[in-house]
Subunit: 433 residues, 2 copies
């Protein structure tokens, strides 16, 4: 959310209630992240007005155009946008990401989502969402087509011979001629290959289908864990699956989310966290939780634990992994509905950590050195202040400990992440003379 | 084209052969146009690699993301992007234009196209293009849905009452519940209403379907005419159709294209025009003309006129009006294929005018004061130099004659064009107390 990852952040006096449509707000955040030498900024997205607009700011700028506007006022920071494979056409989306990659000089990433929920489907002439497995099957074919389109121009296709009047070598620009189950696409793309070859492919689904998809395609993975053990299990499992899919496990970066509530003293940080939690109106939060759990709101009692007879995960057709995470969190810690709402309102399933800059740095270092993370998705509870304090007070500690860069060494998001430019599937291997 | 509207412009020594993917090139052009107080810049588009890449630069940045990157470095200039109603979903496109309108502070226009040609269709899992009338029927419903989506948030929907914890008045955010022949869209849009209410709706088709569509929906129309008489006929006809559709004829601005070849003397301007025409390689141009006319390339002889047995316009399923324009131009002026190629390569059907700054200003003034135009689409043959000279040498003459603004008086594209913000179709009329 524009005002921070805590759902009540917009109610703080410092927050700009109209930040969600204010491009300058997002440009400043990106510039702050760049000052902190972070890899990237990231925008979640779903093509639907899915929440109760009375409760908190909903409605956001479409991320690919937002990234282009941010690219124009930044130099190094990576730019990751979420876009749906269920509600886009591969030609359009491949082209848009290639365009943003050109515009940004190779700083783009695409967080690939299949978009859960019937409400989104009803914005696209469907009565309800396609089944979970169908969405992932389409996503895989979508990625296959997008990659072919990104490769349809060889890197040296444009020869620009003004004297001869030959702009490009047409033998180095290829139709893709994809004939698949979901898509038939002739191609080539109407934009030459971009700086990174392909945008960095990011993924965040943690269901079985989601993890298999990540193992096959993802170069960075956003994930949500409440405990170190859960994060370690996920990390080991996904690296294993990536190896099994025939890829180098170093070629996928696993980035758990963390919501750092930072203040000069631990007591002050805990007070800020409590203040935010108390700004959540329970009636909204209960309705939201009931939606996630597919139960009637009246079955949830604030002072009681979750009902025992919840549907099993395999009956959930969208956001499976989030469903399981929430149910496990409530069951494992025996939380009441009120307690659960506080935990979710802060980080929506991500790990919330309140403390001093040193304590936050310790928490990050501990997970990083315990086989739970290659990096982190920093989700400040309040924006812009929570990003300012992270960049100004936590980043220098991590730099002093030798855990984080002091200057960018690369210009592209691939370089920030340490990922190679993909080989072009159409490129001819040079023949020995 | 990025290097200018003359197809051989990329071959000039001054041209940047890689301008098409260079955002800084487009940002500088927009800043130049803004320095000249022009209404807007405009990007044509088709989601297909439709030309021969050997011949001239093809492959362009997707216009909506390009506009966002330009918006970030300009203040006043309007920003018009072309997008297809045949190969997009209304929810996605309405949202993207609303987002660019927020990002630009209300400077966006959408040039609505139905995208002719089988090649584009084959990038979107179709064997061939839908029929012309089908495309226009879909376009009309697409516009209806988009307008409802843009109106789905009333202008004062966001109340941002932090104390009460109420962000928006949910009774002022509306589902659109569109149930049509081509689309079923629940809505509302996931972005609040933008500065202009709706982006300015622009249109460029000049077939019968195209003109009827323009009369119903368009607020600005790009059009191509070789003669004053043809431009006057079109102008009068479209204003009449607009009135017949129940709209104020002032609410549609008719903007013929002009390709001004400008130099200090008339002889120098004619020499520049000839130099450009001589850089066109005839074999490419003949193939392109043959494609447009749906005839085999070998039936066109450089030193002969067009064959007599061309297909009639009503058998042409795409780009009907362009087909007719080209055939009429060739027949009326009894041009050989070589002469026709020169005329088309310069302006692709638009009026080319070579002369001094005063002569160009005269030509513009004459059409403007003869009932042929409300304004012009200036299409410099070479970029950036052709825009520089227009802004620096022609605009001041038009300003001195009292025909053009010296400073912007508005901030939005609607204000530049003198167009009202559309009423919100969901807005409740205030009741007397």
């Amino acid at each position: 959310m524009s005002t921070g990852h805590h759902e009540a952040s917009w109610r703080l006096p410092e927050s700009n209630s109209f930040a969600g449509t204010d491009v300058a707000h997002f440009q400043r955040l990106a510039q702050t992240a760049e000052r902190g030498k972070l890899d990237s900024i990231f925008f979640a997205d779903s093509p639907v007005l899915h929440g109760n607009v009375a409760q908190r700011p909903y409605g956001s700028l479409e991320p690919t155009v937002l990234l282009a506007a941010i690219a124009a006022v930044t130099e190094r920071i990576g730019l990751i946008a979420t876009a749906s494979t269920t509600y886009n056409e591969p030609y359009n989306l491949a082209r848009r990401f290639a365009s943003v990659d050109h515009i940004s000089g190779g700083r783009t990433g695409w967080n690939v989502v299949t978009t859960a929920g019937d409400a989104a489907a009803r914005n696209f002439s469907l009565a309800g969402q396609p089944a979970h497995s169908q969405r992932y099957e389409r996503a895989a074919e979508f990625l296959d087509v997008a990659k072919k389109l990104w490769d349809s121009w060889e890197d040296d296709a444009v020869v620009a011979d003004k004297d001869a009047g030959v702009w490009a070598d047409s033998s180095r620009v290829h139709p893709v001629n994809h004939q698949g189950r979901h898509f038939q696409v002739e191609g080539g793309l109407d934009v030459p290959r971009s700086v990174q070859g392909h945008p960095v492919i990011v993924q965040a689904g943690s269901s079985e289908n989601g993890k298999d998809f990540a193992a096959r395609y993802a170069e960075a993975v956003f994930t949500a864990h409440q405990t170190l053990a859960a994060a370690q299990d996920f990390y080991a499992d996904l690296k294993r699956r990536t190896t099994a899919a025939g890829r180098d496990p170093q070629s996928i970066k696993i980035l758990p989310g963390i919501v750092p509530v930072i203040a000069a003293t631990e007591a002050e940080a805990l007070r800020l966290e409590r203040e935010l939690d108390e700004l959540i109106l329970p009636e909204h939060a209960v309705r939201q939780l009931a939606n996630l759990l597919r139960v009637p709101p009246e079955s949830l009692k604030l002072e009681a634990q979750l009902p025992v007879d919840l549907p099993p995960e395999d009956e959930i057709e969208g956001a499976k992994s989030r469903y399981t995470l929430v149910v496990n969190l409530a069951r494992n810690e025996q939380l009441t509905v009120r307690q659960l709402i506080g935990r979710l309102g802060g980080g929506r399933g991500h790990r919330t950590f309140a403390g001093t800059p040193d304590q936050v740095a310790d928490a990050i270092q501990h997970w990083f050195q315990s086989g739970a993370a290659d990096g982190f998705n920093i989700m400040p509870p309040v924006l812009p202040s929570g990003l300012d304090i992270f960049v100004d007070q936590v980043v220098p500690i991590l730099q002093d400990r030798g855990l984080f860069r002091r200057e960018y060494t690369g210009r592209t998001l691939r370089e920030h992440f340490g990922l190679a430019v993909p080989a072009n599937s159409f490129e001819r291997v040079p023949q020995p003379a």
